[in-house]
Symmetry: C2
Subunit: 153 residues, 2 copies
């Protein structure tokens, strides 16, 4: 089987501020977090935010900048005590350190976005913002694998 | 305002095969696509797929490898005829060329995943796979901005 090695170079476009200096005690998913955070988008991208305040929920894409990328391919997620393939989990130590969180947008002042649902470290490098649109993002799911019988909650 | 420039280097971990050699005529979102595709994960990541077949829906994260990254910050999305900030749209020409699609997993043979919901080009470089879990990924949304009054469908 062919190997498809190619490098993709991304640039940070801002930074995410949250109450979390360490991963210990940090919420596991944005859907389970009531913590507030803010996104500081670099001034050169200001025009790209036009109209964003008209959405109640947005995706933040960011670099998991403190996560190891050469970790094991089978991991024990926070919510279970068994090993699962890294791609069957949202565990942060993964081959490409990209995190996704859907957060609730609570306000905008220029290039600063305030949100609820912080589940990432303070200082997290921002890579992208996309609008959350139910028609595109809500799916009728039948199977949720190990999560169905997870050991912790 | 400080600028947070930092490079994030990602590696492709496989490739996505779809019926689409060109963007013309390609579905606009996976939720609107019944087209089939497959993901060929590089052999070295095989263990990372353990248990993935127990999920009906997965996120594919990939490089928008043919999209311009220095395009305008206000764009006209496919579904509207007005200009919006790039971060208020899912338009592919964005500062960081990362695409996200939730697709329906229909089968697995070793390191090949078959899916429905193809909305990306054939040969798209794969960056990550994450399980779609309703409790984490379904949000009760109040405002969907320009999409509410979009001009096309």
């Amino acid at each position: 089987m062919e190997r498809h090695l190619m490098e993709i170079i991304l640039k940070t476009i801002g930074v995410i501020h949250t109450p979390f200096q360490e991963t210990t005690g940090m919420p596991i998913q944005s859907a389970r977090s009531d913590f507030e955070g803010s996104v500081e988008v670099d001034a050169e991208y200001l025009d790209g935010l036009d109209g964003i305040e008209e959405f109640s929920h947005i995706y933040l894409l960011y670099a998991l900048h403190r996560a190891e990328t050469n970790g094991p391919l089978k991991v024990q997620p926070f919510l279970d005590d068994r090993l699962h393939g890294i791609f069957a989990t949202r565990f942060p130590m993964r081959p490409n350190p990209i995190g996704i969180s859907v957060v609730r947008l609570t306000g905008r002042k220029g290039s600063i976005l305030h949100f609820k649902g912080a589940d990432m470290l303070d200082g997290t490098p921002l890579l992208d913002i996309k609008p959350y649109i139910p028609e595109f993002d809500i799916f009728d799911v039948e199977k949720i694998g190990w999560y169905q019988n997870r050991k912790h909650d």
